[in-house]
Symmetry: C2
Subunit: 429 residues, 2 copies
């Protein structure tokens, strides 16, 4: 065990960067004992040196340019917590690897877009490129999947991995408020990215899912193949009615490998209200890992914030200090297979909501469309009439998504529908 | 990355051992890709060679004596899944370390009693001694705590870690059955150890807690200092009445370090019914880790069984194959501090149940005892009289356990009590 310190170059002094500084300073002895050697910060970089950052940075060399930081001879590990998947984050990460530095990053977008090339570069140079903080914040899910479940063939990975979306959905439900109102609240509270579509459009969570899928199935990261649907169209009506049927609506990521290929979805789904996923409130994240030997493992914890994200960064740093090396995505990047996206998702029950004209035979026509498409009905509820119209809820038995879509297109021709029908997948958890 | 296979010597061919054989055989390619080298079984040992074990063992050398297996020159890792904390398991583990073999064990009892000496022996020889499978079955909790949360000062660790006890308690609740009936059911279903007191007496779970506490707080394993109380005295009345107050009763392990010292308890506790711990049903395990940076992480999964336990064993094996080495308890065994057991537990609310004679002033006398002891009342419920007696429930505000005990001893002198009062700690989760 070497006593030489592991020296960090910390690029980015926002919330996460300052969180890392605080842990390194507060727990120097604890970390040295656990890592077998001291972990120190040698140099930092950020754009604005004059900003007050509520941390003592006086002992660290300063670089304005993260690329210059990445190349400094006095650092061993480049810690990238700047964010952004092009520009400085990418060029500095590449420069760090080229200069023989290990890299620890919290940057899901960078890895979702450039993970393959970066992992190949790192592995060719026998360097670590690690990203525990990029997925589900403080939850050690990359470690659980890559190491803890390494003896399993992974069957499915699921997760609620964007706290802002889960906050919005659970608050809509708790307060019976429409999406737009809660979205605006969240924006004003600073819960959303500068481009809120990264959150509510499911992009951020989709990035995370694509990284988990790569590890789970030994495939190259395929973010472009993730079926993405944000929460902007989730209505308070559906939240309320789903609840009435014993379900909750979550922005749920699902990745699974089937005979049809790799499925990756980040879409609003119904899950049973009494399941761990259904019970998840507010900004907390949850990831569900299913392996052929272990069965189902559920991990729950804070998905963002200074402390949790910095905790995950430090886990990677300490692993590097301890000398643990493994490929970025669990097997060597050169061995990752190209993902073959599934043409159609695994069959699942669907929740259908529609409003029918209140005339004889209306419901029968809808039921006929479903039957003709091969979709059978598990439950149906017709609610009290609203004027001349009748809201109808249907829960189907397991059906192929294409069959459901086919039935939906035929609804229009019946002439009994008011407005657009809604279909939401019910994920069996 | 070396292509030389990592060769296992597998001691014990019970459920877990056969689970390991199945994984090694079924996933040879997957494991080789993940570990960077093949993982093979070179030799096995068990007492009875003739027993039918539902696995093809023909390719493995056979030793009747696990000590002989441990010393074989053709093994790199000794996998101990025999069980028992003295005798063969201990001597074979010592022999393996003495012969320069890494050890992976599922044996909580062995480590709870001899972990310090074994870890010192392993570390002096620069060998791995790992035990993921010993705590909470398939949940990668040792990894999460030792590695995933390595940047945190750990504040508290909690867990439901004996599936049989949780099965008994949740079934008592669901079916409104007394302890004795469900205990007998569980015994006949084979859910209990040959000595059932290992399960229902809390000993098995206490072993696990003592191992987690060592890692969490950097202290030597101190199983003898665990406050142990089994579930044998949990009555269906208390389960029902606790539920009525919004709580569930769990055999809950709690380890925390305070200014008073190290607290380790494995006792029946009340937890909020809507908390993750409260919602845990059946044989599933749950561990809650609380760190100063990360906040609260909850891990849930199967705590026993062939697949889950073998999955955990293989995680350790693959880490060793990957070359990851870290001390058994997270810091070098020689640096672990002697645990200073806390003289008294952290204050907590208490649930008190008693039956009072139905006479004027009875409740006032009880309330006076509590007040005199410095225990204040948060909620009180008096239930409908049963003949001349009145069942009374009290939930206190946070109180020192000694003060509660003091009040309880004074209850007797009031002359208004029928039978023995019950006090159960409410753990704030």
């Amino acid at each position: 065990m070497s006593a030489a310190p592991l020296r960090l170059g910390l690029a980015g002094l926002g919330t996460v960067g300052i969180g890392v500084v605080k842990i390194v300073q507060a727990h120097a002895d604890l970390i040295a004992a656990r890592a077998g050697r001291p972990v120190t910060i040698a140099a930092v970089s950020a754009r604005d040196r004059t900003k007050n950052r509520d941390a003592d940075l006086s002992g660290y060399a300063w670089e304005t340019d993260p690329v210059a930081l990445a190349r400094r001879p006095d650092i061993d590990v480049f810690v990238e917590v700047m964010g952004g998947h092009e520009g400085a984050a990418k060029s500095a990460t590449e420069a760090a690897l080229a200069a023989g530095k290990h890299v620890v990053t919290a940057n899901k977008a960078l890895l979702a877009h450039h993970g393959q090339a970066l992992a190949e570069q790192a592995e060719a140079a026998n360097l670590a490129l690690r990203f525990e903080a990029a997925v589900a914040g403080g939850i050690p899910v990359i470690k659980a999947l890559t190491e803890g479940l390494a003896g399993n063939r992974i069957k499915r990975v699921m997760g609620v991995m964007n706290g802002s979306c889960n906050y919005i959905l659970t608050r809509m439900q708790a307060e019976n408020l429409p999406y737009e109102t809660v979205f605006e609240e969240a924006r004003q509270l600073g819960y959303l990215e500068a481009d809120p579509n990264l959150d509510v459009g499911g992009i951020d969570a989709g990035h995370k899912l694509s990284l988990l899928a790569s590890i789970a199935f030994g495939t190259r990261v395929a973010f472009d193949a993730v079926e993405l649907e944000g929460i902007g169209n989730v209505s308070i009506d559906d939240i309320r009615l789903a609840q009435d049927m014993g379900y909750r609506i979550k922005l749920l990521g699902v990745a699974q490998m089937t005979g049809r290929g790799l499925e990756q979805r980040m879409t609003p789904c119904l899950v049973p209200a009494d399941s761990p996923l259904g019970q998840l409130q507010g900004g907390t994240n949850m990831v569900v890992l299913e392996g052929d030997s272990v069965g189902q493992i559920v991990l729950r914890g804070p998905g963002a914030g200074m402390g949790p994200t910095a905790s995950a960064v430090m886990a990677d740093v300490i692993d590097i200090a301890r000398g643990c090396r493994l490929p970025t995505f669990g097997i060597p990047a050169s061995q990752l297979a190209a993902a073959q996206p599934a043409r159609a998702a695994t069959p699942a029950p669907y929740y259908l909501r529609m409003t029918l004209l209140d005339k004889p035979g209306a419901l029968a026509r809808i039921a006929t469309c479903l039957g003709d498409a091969g979709v059978s009905i598990d439950q149906m509820r017709q609610y009290g009439h609203q004027g001349a119209n009748a809201p109808v809820l249907i829960v189907t038995h397991k059906a192929a998504p294409d069959d459901v879509a086919h039935a939906m297109t035929r609804f229009a021709a019946t002439g009994v529908l008011v407005g657009e029908p809604v279909a939401i997948r019910i994920e069996e958890v």
